[in-house]
Symmetry: C2
């Protein structure tokens, strides 16, 4: 085992790339001692040679992808991001029999399954621990640790920005805009936050996890996506009064043989394990038929946590030369879009005495109501809110009943959130 060397071609030197260069330098002797492998970077692809990059050897930089890909490296690390040219780089490398490690969640969500198949055919490995939840070894857990389990469900907090915003709204009673601005100033949210706050980032991660866990390729629109923009302080307060916390939750579960994938706000009981995941942290709960329920949590992003995940894949490949892939394990499960649950509904009404007409319409549409209340004080928009907690009902019934409220003209606005339980 001693004395093995592995030559890495690195594509991209942004946040995670620089973290990887830093870790490789700092951990060289630790890695040698633990694994007997020496890791070295042959070339680094960048867009701009002149940009200052502290701690990165200028002589390794190139703007020519060929000098990275066809330069005798054993393994390619793709940290360019986005679909093209990342896809071509990865396909080119796999087809030439090179192992690939990537943290590219957009690409994996779009065509991870076909990339995994290419890797399997060429008998090389495709590592992507860094693509979901930063340093949390959830991909490894699904591919290896839980390999003897039929996975029943995956749920979690997959987007640190949404969780940071909801934590500030809950703990510090900031409103959405204020919390978002704070997340941006701390670097937890991008200048254009829509990928995060509208739920698409979490949806990409959920699709990657679900394809691995359920061994089936899923259609690109498989995930029903909702973000956190519509959540108000009034909702946060109402959730608290009901004993819940509002979280942005991604769920993939098998219901009556169909796979259901949803990303959106959810009320979780205050003593639920996901309620305690705060700030920019991520968490994933996996339920397997043999192991039961298992939670993994930690920092879901950041230069060093993500680089640590990329490095773990690199070392795994360096130490195990054999192929290992999770491929399709059977027929693709059909995707469903209906599910049953209790729900929290909020309606904007002109008159707080609208509980009667609102609940009457809901009940006429077949929705069982557990409780209903109205705020006498007007909220910012100048309306009152009627809040309803439903009994266990199919989401389709909830949606139909909510639509009937709009048709009847009882409310100017509505908001529907699932209650975990």
């Amino acid at each position: 085992m001693a004395g093995r060397k592995l030559k890495i071609g690195l594509l991209g030197c942004g946040t995670v790339g620089r973290g990887l260069v830093e870790l490789l330098a700092k951990k060289e002797s630790l890695i040698q001692q633990r694994t007997g492998v020496t890791l070295g970077i042959t070339k680094i692809l960048v867009r701009d040679l002149e940009k200052p990059r502290r701690g990165v050897d200028q002589a390794l930089l190139t703007t020519d992808p060929d000098r990275v890909l066809n330069n005798g490296c054993d393994l390619v690390v793709e940290l360019v991001g986005g679909i093209e040219p990342a896809r071509s780089f990865i396909q080119h490398s796999l087809r030439r029999g090179k192992h690939v490690v990537t943290a590219n969640k957009a690409l994996l969500a779009q065509e991870g399954f076909s990339l995994l198949k290419t890797a399997e055919m060429r008998n090389v490995r495709l590592g992507f621990e860094g693509s979901v939840c930063g340093g949390i070894p959830i991909i490894r857990a699904l591919r290896n640790g839980l390999v003897g389990n039929d996975i029943q469900s995956i749920s979690g907090i997959l987007n640190g920005t949404c969780n940071y915003i909801l934590t500030r709204m809950t703990d510090d009673r900031m409103d959405f805009d204020e919390a978002l601005a704070q997340a941006q100033s701390l670097g937890f949210a991008e200048a254009d936050p829509s990928l995060d706050v509208d739920g698409h980032d979490a949806a990409q991660k959920l699709k990657i996890l679900a394809e691995l866990a359920f061994g089936a390729e899923l259609p690109t629109d498989a995930v029903d996506v909702e973000g956190v923009r519509d959540i108000t302080l009034d909702d946060v307060q109402a959730a608290r009064e009901l004993g819940y916390t509002i979280k942005h939750i991604a769920v993939a579960e098998v219901i009556d043989g169909s796979l259901m994938l949803r990303v959106g706000p959810m009320l979780v009981p205050r003593n639920h394990q996901l309620a305690g995941i705060r700030d920019e942290n991520n968490a994933v709960v996996v339920r397997g038929d043999a192991v039961g329920e298992m939670l993994f949590s930690g920092k879901g992003a950041g230069s060093l946590p993500s680089a640590s995940a990329v490095l773990s894949d690199v070392i795994d490949i360096a130490c195990h030369k054999g192929g290992f892939a999770i491929g399709p394990t059977g027929e693709a499960k059909p995707c469903a879009s209906d599910y049953s649950s209790s729900h929290y509904l909020r309606f904007a009404v002109r008159d707080p005495a609208a509980i009667g007409p609102v609940t009457t319409v809901l009940e006429r549409e077949g929705l069982g109501i557990q409780s209903a209340s109205a705020s006498w004080a007007k909220c910012e928009s100048g309306s009152h809110h009627v809040r309803v907690v439903t009994h266990w009902s199919p989401r389709s019934v909830v949606d139909r009943a909510v639509a009937a409220i709009a048709t009847a003209g009882h409310a100017s606005q509505q908001f529907v959130v699932r209650i975990a339980g």
Copy 2:
């Protein structure tokens, strides 16, 4: 990758062994599809051939270890438990170039390091995911997922029995004896519960995790051990009033270059991530320099969770023929036994007006006091309790001050617990 077969020799067919036989039968096609490997058991060592074992093929059973070990198997799974003959079985197998998977925490805590070295020398693998925290893939996380991290600390709830008892005391106000009896009736505690409730089981697991995480062999008495027998309902209530929950916590951390290993009761803030781990669940928090803090939790024991962990090792070995070991990574760290923290102290006194003399002695011994209170009502033992929360102090100072209280004759009994935070 397709069509590979792996022959398993199984030593022991108790709770975990039967779980493994069950999983191998149920998951045969899932495992083939996911990995291309067919797993088969050649022979099973048992003590008593006549004992009924549902779902186990009688023809595979033998009472002769030779018929398991020297029967052309590729891999030996040791689930006999205890030190001997398990140790001889494992050494014999490793020396003959067979991979070994074991869930034997007593043996690994005693000499895991030397077994790992033997495996490395023979270029075979020793898997022991099942030895710590059942199905939670914490060994895999330390050996692979976090391999590029310097681990700064490991802490957690490693014993399900203690956690079950403390959860009942906290939530249902049962006293220790009642909670233990309930744990026993539910199968969470043995008829002789001392391995669990006196902390030794958690100490064994902590030693295994610490040796892996810090890459250094530790002396057998490295862990300072305390159990949960001395915790009273009065303590649970006092902790609650102070905003804490009492948990049985194992900690391995580096303090000023020395490694400190402790297992014992601890007050954790009610919103701390370990405070929410309930019932028989286990949890491990790992702090690495690159990934930050990460939590893993789930069922820490049981037939199928532990068998799932054993199976993951078997499949890992089946899929990666190369060697991979975490060996010593440098000089052994010295072990320390002192640490600093706030502490909760409880003294049994005859007169509730003993706050003055007690705090006077403590302060004279150099201990800073944050708060002190006394219960006017007598507790069961007929004494009053004086409760003290100290400022941040070295444990050695706390112990000296507590000893001085006993010497001065102010209290008939005392109890010291560390406060997390």
